[in-house]
Symmetry: D4
Subunit: 253 residues, 8 copies
């Protein structure tokens, strides 16, 4: 139940094109739908501008399939993150048009054909091993309606790779920086731009990265200002925050 569909439904009722019974039927799973093991939050699109996203990790293949089918039935876009290949096979059976983005591990259905928001989201990554997380951020940001650009493998060990692309920082509205190891790229980018920077630490690194803790702490302690941090490996979270900012730019409620 996207905001547009809800508005349209209520207008049809107001104009007498449907009666109350029809409206009630359309709204019967609204604002949430109880699957027993899950309560689908159909109100979320109204409240947050995008329907509930399926975080597949920790769910069974059957649960993912069932939730995907119900959310798809609500008529809006559907996005599933941390999806395995098996989950995608199951989803395809109930929703054949859904697409799988491999390194990003995302299933996307009914992504907007063109951007909904004005500002470009620039996804920057430090190294090749950070690519799955960077791609999750990029695929999610696209699915949510943002124009997306990418600047990959520009870690601070070879600073000229970033400085050569410094002009691209200024053209973006929001910058997502994805980095593991010591996560210094977030501070360096933050120091070069006045744009809001969303930092995503990754779990890439030798032993003392402690599963991403090193990059996480580094980003939280960034000496550059204007940097907000999301969870380790959470490309989706960065995309969601970028979308919230971009919605402001468009003037959406």
């Amino acid at each position: 139940m996207t905001p547009d569909r809800l508005r349209s439904l209520l207008e049809q009722l107001q104009r007498g094109r449907i009666d109350v019974e029809q409206a009630l039927e359309a709204l019967q799973n609204w604002p949430y739908e109880n699957l027993g093991f899950a309560r689908l939050d159909h109100l979320r699109a109204l409240r947050q501008g995008f329907p509930e996203v399926i975080f597949c990790q920790g769910k069974t293949v059957e649960q993912v399939q069932k939730i995907f089918r119900h959310l798809a039935g609500a008529g809006g876009p559907v996005l599933a993150t941390r999806a395995t290949g098996d989950m995608y096979e199951a989803v395809k059976q109930v929703c054949p048009e859904a697409l799988y983005h491999h390194p990003a591990r995302c299933i996307v259905h009914r992504a907007p054909e063109k951007p909904l928001f004005p500002g470009t989201v620039l996804v920057i990554s430090a190294g090749t091993a950070d690519l799955p997380v960077a791609e999750e951020a990029a695929v999610c940001a696209l699915a949510m309606g943002n124009p997306v650009e990418k600047l990959y493998d520009v870690g601070v060990a070879g600073l000229h790779r970033l400085l050569d692309n410094q002009h691209r920082l200024g053209r973006a509205a929001v910058i997502i920086v994805v980095a593991g190891m010591e996560g210094a790229l977030a501070s360096v980018v933050g120091g070069l731009t006045s744009r809001p920077v969303i930092a995503v630490p990754t779990s890439v690194g030798y032993g003392a990265s402690f599963g991403g803790l090193a990059a996480l702490l580094a980003m939280l302690n960034s000496c550059a200002s204007g940097v907000g941090v999301v969870n380790i490996d959470n490309g989706f979270g960065a995309a969601a925050l970028a979308t919230a900012i971009n919605r402001l730019l468009k003037g959406d409620k």
Copy 2:
């Protein structure tokens, strides 16, 4: 050296109102000024929209006084955070108009008289003990040119205090949530709004808050999306990120 002053200087040169020597003199400490123990980054206002902010913690009273004087000499606004009363006394000797905001522990000089940016920054705090951090966020956001509103002591133990004020969430452009203990307020606010939420964990709490670690981890793990996290007790950092977003709204570079 604010952007406006630099532009004006260059225009005067172009129009022949000053000569190259005069321009050079005005620019002599530009882009940074070496005090020996510190290099003041006068370029920062151009690059990031606000001059370098003085983080007083770990500096001596003399160092704060000297840096404050030099930054004030550059002609723009000056902001010092984590300033003790002693530091303020020393600053007043070289800059008598500077103001001290007590619970926020900030010294402010030449704050803008009216907001520079369009969007309201709403600062929400969970409990009374979080007030110093919330005030740091509010005072810094004001000093940087944002319209600021406050909604204090609305922790989730008494959820109706927040729900009664839910309409104020929608009126804000950016929401800063300041909370210690378990930091749940960030998730609850994040679930109620489509606005970007900047979460500030505080070091308030019993033993197992471990100096704010509990709230920090909670905010990073927020099940609501659209939440970016800054360092523990870092009200300034939240204000800076809010300003970066607000500058986008105004269309500033």
Copy 3:
């Protein structure tokens, strides 16, 4: 050796229906039975109201089978947690009526047919991935004789799902809240009710949940009062504490 069986045995002796030899034989493995690798604590039902529960993790299939057989031989209910499918197959060979609850990973034998205690235990979970832990709590609570209700997938990112069911909080005697990620649900529920709340953090979440540490710390730091916390993913522990409270209500020693 449940309290009822022990009392009955002693009464039979008192009334001369059995002689001392017979009583001794019945008591020969009492108060504990030495299997070599394990000492079965048959006294526990007397002391704590429920026989020793088998925590299968870290035990071999053979050990689980052997312990299950001996505990079943004592005549009371038997409960095994963290049991794999292989363990269940082995248990079925020695105790064919035992039942396996799949997502809860519990083997249950001779569960009470109707509740033994008056108060309802309400199990609330935040997300679908928390379901195995929530089910462990529910299955154990049922096996121990509590009336159980469930309210699943009502995490704070969609607060209306919980608020719509707020009346169910008041009808319960004890509330078990199962949540991973930031664990905020425990605080929110705690703030809405005067009932004792038992919080179970789960290991569900992105990197910085650090295996459930984030939710654990959040729950320990709950700003709502009346919340007691058990170990990460320990649904059984929550059920046991709920049972201890419920036994009080019934007036059991």
Copy 4:
């Protein structure tokens, strides 16, 4: 605004003894009262059975005084924890009858003259250095209306001190165990009783107690069941959970 006072007010209105204006005036700060820096949650007594408790740590003396005065003005009992002597001096100026319990660091006003609830709360402590936390638990439990007994300095290094008092465990309804160092007392007590045990780790100990972390982890990992844990040094939290259980026994909503 305690439940009794609210009921009485509404009955007076119903019976025509007061008019709507008078009722409104009485209710004007209801359900919460905005002091600017704090929102007093007058609804909490209704929702949780006891008015909001003042956690003094992190608040200024002036804030504590002001909040105390307003809560006292609501007519019910008032309880402040972690109060310094200075805070008590300030409170006495506005509320001369308030009492200070020294090792517990609590200010109590209008504590019930006799117990409100039927079950005894037994507070057990491991060592003399745990006394301030144990006393906080005992004083808070008393102030909230529980009958309270104490059994101090019975740590497991001299187990006979506890075993000699084992009969007192069975006479209690709820047992609060306060222990630092390795916190083993919670497990030992938990193994000896079927009563709900509330474990309070304290920060007492040599270096590797890490501010109470050792006892906290030990209690969360208790091999005895029926144990719920609260925050380090949080005697108040244990009392609040005990009260929630005791209210059930009385049959309160």
Copy 5:
């Protein structure tokens, strides 16, 4: 090269039964033997009373086989810990009489046929899941020449199982306590005896045991005195310390 063999060699030389060349040949790999990837410390039996023990974890099957063969060639007892079944198969090819102790994961060769030392080492374990570590301690202690007794599954949740066997504590010279979860057994045993207690934390437990950290910290913080702690799951280390104490009793250098 055990102390006895070395003494005998030197005496033979002194008495002219062998010549210097023969002595040199016998000593050629003494005090250590360089295998390239390992330097076997043949001096260790002299210095510490027992030959170098092979810690198999992190070594390849080939390395274990080769080291075992060389140590066996030195003529004394050989002990390998953390050995997999594959490693044992490889060792058997070069040393057919070597024995494998399954739950202890130890390979033992030429263990003493009767105890070398006077004092009994009593190995106590808390639960069945601690058995592999307890068995490692027991097998190693036996192989090093200690009389060994076992008392398993006497965790503090059923304290009577331990109290019933209290007399066995006094009969032992050294007590090894193996426990996971909250590790309280070490404190309880320590409080009941004046014997030296060696505490071995195990990695058994729910999430917040953090791989044995909870038990480790608990044991280090034991309120009972006379307790020394070894590494998590390090049954071998406990046996080695017990042997060092037992050697004192025998009066060995």
Copy 6:
């Protein structure tokens, strides 16, 4: 009530030198004495060979004074650790002969005039800053009846200082190694001797010692065997374990 005094009392009763009333009076505070805030464990000397030791940290001056007086009244030796100068002043008022050992921060009363046990306890320290902990170990070991030798400031950065004294290792029965920073001294000593080594990590060091955690982990991971570890800065604990070993040597129960 030391073992000797108890035996003497019972013998006097047996021989008719005192009557039952007199024996009862003498035993009235036995086996423990309830001071309200503390239960003095007079049985401990019987059970563990030394009376209860007062750990002063976290106790008030008044509590220390009162406990000291009561323990002194029992007639045996009294030992208080972590005592401040103020505490000693208070103790002197009730027990003028008590002595204060300054860097060790111990108050000792009625220490044995000559050693009770045969084996020498050698206390080794790594650096001068470890001296207070080493002295606590030495003073406590002496007070408990052990012959004590000291070898201070022989850290591994200047290995020859230790190697020059290697012969002293072999003359000791038990070796206590006190070291901060990286705690390597425990492993080096452990590798040079077959004696039981008790390792005491100290909180001495730069930032990443994390209050002694670095040395603690190092000692637990010692590659040398025969090493048992006690808590950070816990010199007393090392002395108590050394005494337990030494009592074995004497053949005490």
Copy 7:
């Protein structure tokens, strides 16, 4: 593009042997080459004296193959670390002369035939399980042009193995110490030599090594001076730092 090749190219242009178009073509992927998922930093050999090294962990086999091919195409040496056997098979298809060093898990191509630098790098390891990391250090140091010597399995539990080889410390220019468990070897070596010591903690050890944390902290806290630490298991990092020092000795820029 090694420094020599770049200089040669520019000289050819200067002397008219190639024209600008040819030079441009040769330089077209210079200073970095964008593969889409990776930006190869061809400038690194100029800046740091050795081409970019491929850290294979977290990369796919295809990515490793492609990067290896492009770096090999630049004409200089190629080094890949943390390479699996599968990766080597893929690399061999595009670069048949590349060699695989098994325990070091490194692929090396065009290693220098004789040392480029004057000083010997001595790699010391504590135990056999540390061998893979020690070999990574040795193989990388060789591939980068250093003379390399090895001294393995000389842990401090058998100190004479190291002391016997003490003369080799003085012959080396730089010493790399590889050790797990308590990592004491770094301090002992550091105390015996005036050479710069590079310490590499490994993840070898029992539970409380916490994946190498114990050795890492120990090495950072070394009481011997002249010790620099690299990441856990990071043999490559140690080799790179040794090379930087060795380049100084040669007088390279």
Copy 8:
């Protein structure tokens, strides 16, 4: 006893200018001198090129004074770090020429008048609050005989401050990078130079720097190679490692 003094002494003996008695007297405190609480390692200058340095933290004023006097008596340079003003006052009484460097908190005596080694040590710091640690590194490096240059307050938030001084990196032999917060400066400098980089994390920062842990982990995880890390706030350690490298350049043993 510096190497030069020892050589001179032995040459005098060889040439008959002193007799054996005189030589013995001069060597009587050699190789170490036992002060009771400390063993001064006079051999260290021979072994490591610089006499033992006094780490004052954790020592009493009297101990520092006494050690300083004895080391000064040995005739070489003396260096004390972490010295308070009180300690300096005490040292001046016994060694009036000693100098105190205030922000570095070092006492220096008989520093070399001109550099002993050829390579310049460049000390770079990120922010003004890092100055005490940077100064400790600089003062110690000077006292040990290195030419020293400084480049302060060039943190990555204003990258141009560093890039403007990039030419100075190449002129140095060894670079010490001192940074708190996220410590990114080490990686950025490491990426710009082929010189060995010694990284010193500082404890400067907001809450989640956790006393320097964030910077420490970042530096250990540096994506740039050629970086060795020392302990938090350990400026001395960095200077000592730089000196070890510089001694190599000079060709010293």
